[in-house]
């Protein structure tokens, strides 16, 4: 069958403004959107660009906006959309466009770094010759966060980042911090929590749940952020005992 794709095009070097091109692709319902983009690029217009690598949803390269919602082009199939109408492909929101569907990822990776790494030596409680003990239950505390592939779909969907506080560290970075804060082996969790409390940190999150809605790995991102907030309150700001009670 034939499917029409309306694709965002922009080369900031030469174009005054973005425009859209419509391509018609012969596709099966079970084809990945990425397969269709490749057909366009290899058979119709070699100047179209987007990132891709593993093509099965583990490397996180090909986050784009499909019909208004951020998703991985390799994880969505033609049949996931109403393919009798045009399928609209745009770059991820929030990030500056470099060309067509390729966005500048530096603002994303900078945030991940800001939230997770600092000048502490290693991430573990103590140095032993064996692995640190961690029960399956303890390990399961941060299992959901380990699924993150750094695709940035959550950031591109976050109303806080898009409208309220563009300097917000963002859901992916908080999730990455959460992964260490809830890891029983990690010694410096308090310092990691303090980093999250900086301006534009975790408290900018207003729990819109858009990150959870779009996450290609189905991570309960908002829940992880809320758990982290709770832990910060309990550990860094414990409730004062009042004398009247």
């Amino acid at each position: 069958m034939e499917v029409k794709f309306k694709v965002f095009r922009f080369n900031p070097e030469t174009d005054e403004a973005p425009h859209y091109d419509v391509f018609t692709v012969k596709a099966n319902a079970s084809d990945r959107i990425l397969d269709c983009l490749n057909k366009i690029r290899w058979e119709q217009d070699s100047s179209l660009v987007y990132r891709m690598s593993c093509s099965h949803g583990i490397c996180g390269s090909d986050g784009v906006t499909i019909n208004g919602s951020p998703a991985l082009a390799c994880q969505k199939l033609v049949k996931d959309y109403d393919y009798n109408k045009q399928v609209v492909i745009e770059p991820l929101k929030f990030f500056p466009v470099v060309k067509d569907l390729v966005v500048d990822m530096e603002p994303f990776f900078k945030r991940i770094k800001a939230a997770t790494s600092h000048n502490v030596d290693g991430t573990v409680a103590d140095e032993t010759e064996r692995e640190h003990a961690q029960t399956p239950e303890e390990r399961s505390m941060f299992d959901d966060a380990v699924k993150c592939i750094l695709c940035a779909c959550c950031v591109a969907a976050c109303p806080v980042m898009l409208k309220e506080d563009p300097d917000f560290v963002g859901p992916a970075a908080v999730l990455r911090a959460h992964r260490y804060i809830f890891d029983t082996r990690v010694a410096d969790t308090e310092e990691r929590m303090r980093i999250l409390e900086k301006p534009h940190g975790i408290w900018s999150c207003k729990s819109y749940y858009q990150c959870t809605q779009v996450c290609p790995k189905r991570i309960k991102v908002t829940e992880a952020i809320l758990k982290t907030k709770k832990k910060i309150l309990e550990q860094l700001h414990p409730k004062q005992e009042t004398e009247t009670e």
């Binding site: 080369n11 070699s46 593993c54 099965h56 290693g122 064996r130 003990a133 390990r139």
Partner: protein, 574 residues
């Protein structure tokens, strides 16, 4: 633009990043990567990483060594296998201390599971040796190593494509490439270069590899006059999703999955009575193709079934969540309800750039060292995987040898002064790019690439023979001729992926030619290299490594002996 470092690491997968972490402790190390490093194909490793920790049952490093040697069909250099197996447990502990979230057993230790070809007591029965993080082990290791690199401020240049190794007075003194974002040449001046560019699965039509796995390191090596070793040994993983090639981890069979033919028979019982579905990959891939050729594919088609129903929903969710999820996404199949259609998929290169155990690149069969040039990971050939790599031995190879190469390169730069930079470097890169952008040739990369992928899958896969390989060689050479009149239609410099793919194709064609040429010469069957016209292993004539060189008249081959220490070659039965 010229950058100067002590060490330049080309490629940012796990091997590259572990090397960078180690090297950056004592010298200025930088990583250049064609993709954002967190997109490297190491993240696609699923099932596990091998080490004889003995957390579940008794295990010993010499059992691991034996399995590695036998798994490699005795082409494995045994000193390398010994290093790998002895040092594996410490490497796992190092990873755990970096924060890798391994799955745990009830005692709170790293959990371990069975895997293909991992045995107790020199082949007696399966053993639990694979450490893992569900079925996203590569991703979990990558993320921890990446965070460590970030915390220690390791310099990373993302989206830079290296085109040329630079030499001065016979010493490697850096590398030249271009910035994908703007198409401008970049020069990296260094005392040492480490190639960590990964594999080349994309030369085949059906592969588990990502789009970036285009054999760039092999192209760089050949262009620099460095030979390639054991290029005929290509691993075809038995269980790629039919048609797509996406990997379904061996862990699926470790957790209880079985392969079935059209009659529902568990056919591996006939091919490997002891290990059955957990036999090594080469053997299972051949068994699947044999079933298909004998008319026992599902519905007469060219695939078999991987049946995970016995594992059950809960265990699938716990142990194989990624596999379960993408089988649902791409096939609409719930593996707890229905079997998965699978067929062999090109997965891994046992061969590559010849190195010693410290990563020095070797320029000939006598062991001459290329000064200042190192290689590590899948692109390197340490001879540790022999003719067939065991599952979980790749990730451990990256970590054990990544650490060694990092240490060696650190020592190297301490006693080396910065070599001079050849003046031509920037001009050469600009010329190469301009040559393609301004070419008025009629050929296009996607067309040639598709022809190459099809012929490699048809003629140089699980079963090979002289006639098919000879045809493949002729066709590759004619594709190489066509490549000379390649042009790119898109003339912009900014993020020109057409240009990038054209350059990658050059590396892929060189790699494919070396592979087919080596396969044609090896007149025996060993490990992953099976010749229908020479179905037996022939230790008398062929217990030796192939070294393929580029010469003015084309490719030439020489050989070097296999190192046998503890385990004399025996018949390989499972």
């Amino acid at each position: 633009m010229i950058y100067e470092y002590d060490v330049l690491i080309v490629g940012g997968g796990i091997a590259g990043l572990v090397t960078a972490l180690t090297a950056s402790e004592n010298c200025r190390a930088a990583v250049v990567s064609k993709v954002y490093v967190t997109r490297s194909h190491s993240v696609a490793a699923q099932g596990g990483i091998a080490a004889s920790l003995g957390n579940e049952e008794e295990d010993r490093w010499d059992w691991h060594m034996f399995d590695t040697v036998k798994g490699g069909d005795y082409l494995t250099d045994q000193d390398m296998a010994e290093t790998l197996a002895r040092e594996a447990p410490a490497a796992i502990i190092m990873l755990e201390h970096m924060g890798v979230p391994f799955s745990r057993n009830k005692a709170g230790k790293i959990d371990q599971r069975r895997f293909g070809g991992h045995t107790r007591n020199f082949g007696e029965a399966p053993v639990k040796r694979a450490c893992y993080a569900a079925d996203r082990t590569g991703r979990a290791i990558m993320d921890a190593v990446y965070d460590q690199c970030q915390a220690r401020e390791v310099t990373v240049h993302n989206e830079v494509f290296i085109q040329k190794l630079l030499f001065a007075s016979n010493r490697c003194c850096g590398a030249a490439g271009y910035d994908i974002a703007n198409g401008k040449p970049l020069i990296f001046h260094a005392k040492a270069v480490v190639l960590a560019t990964g594999g080349c699965g994309k030369i085949f039509k059906i592969t588990s590899n990502g789009f970036a796995s285009t054999g760039d390191g092999f192209g760089l090596a050949l262009d620099a006059g460095v030979p390639l070793e054991d290029m005929e040994f290509v691993q075809f993983h038995p269980t790629g999703i039919y048609g797509l090639g996406i990997l379904v981890s061996e862990a699926a069979r470790a957790e209880g999955g079985v392969l079935r033919n059209n009659a529902g028979e568990r056919f591996m019982e006939c091919y490997a009575p002891t290990l059955k579905d957990l036999a090594p990959r080469d053997l299972i891939s051949r068994a699947i193709i044999t079933e298909i050729r004998d008319g026992r594919g599902i519905g007469g088609a060219d695939y078999v079934h991987l049946d995970l129903r016995e594992i059950g929903k809960d265990r699938l969710a716990q142990k194989l969540p990624e596999v379960t999820s993408f089988v649902k996404t791409y096939l609409g199949i719930d593996p707890s309800d229905a079997p998965i259609p699978v067929a062999p998929t090109c997965h891994y290169m046992m061969g590559g750039i010849p190195t010693d155990k410290n990563g020095h690149v070797l320029t000939d069969e006598s062991g001459a060292v290329a000064q200042g040039l190192f290689a590590v990971g899948e692109c390197a050939c340490l001879n540790v995987h022999g003719a067939n790599r065991l599952g979980c031995n790749s990730l451990i190879d990256l970590v054990v040898f990544g650490g060694k190469v990092g240490a060696t390169v650190t020592a190297h730069v301490k006693e080396t002064v910065m070599p001079k930079l050849p003046a031509q470097a920037e001009y050469d890169i600009e010329n190469k790019i301009r040559g393609l952008l301004e070419s008025d040739g009629s050929e296009r990369a996607p067309v040639i690439r598709e022809a190459m992928q099809r012929l490699m899958t048809e003629k140089c896969s699980v079963f090979r023979n002289h006639d098919a390989l000879q045809e493949a060689l002729t066709e590759i050479r004619s594709l190489k001729k066509r490549y000379a009149s390649l042009a790119v239609a898109n003339k912009t410099r900014r993020f020109n992926y057409e240009l990038e793919e054209a350059l990658e194709l050059g590396n892929m064609l060189k790699t494919a030619e070396a592979m087919v040429f080596s396969a044609l010469q090896r007149k025996e069957s060993r490990g992953a290299h099976y010749r229908q016209d020479f179905p037996e292993r022939n230790d008398q004539e062929w217990l030796k490594h192939t070294i393929v060189y580029t010469a003015p008249e084309g490719l030439t081959l020489r050989y070097k002996p296999v190192i046998v220490t503890r385990f004399p070659p025996k018949e390989r039965r499972y």
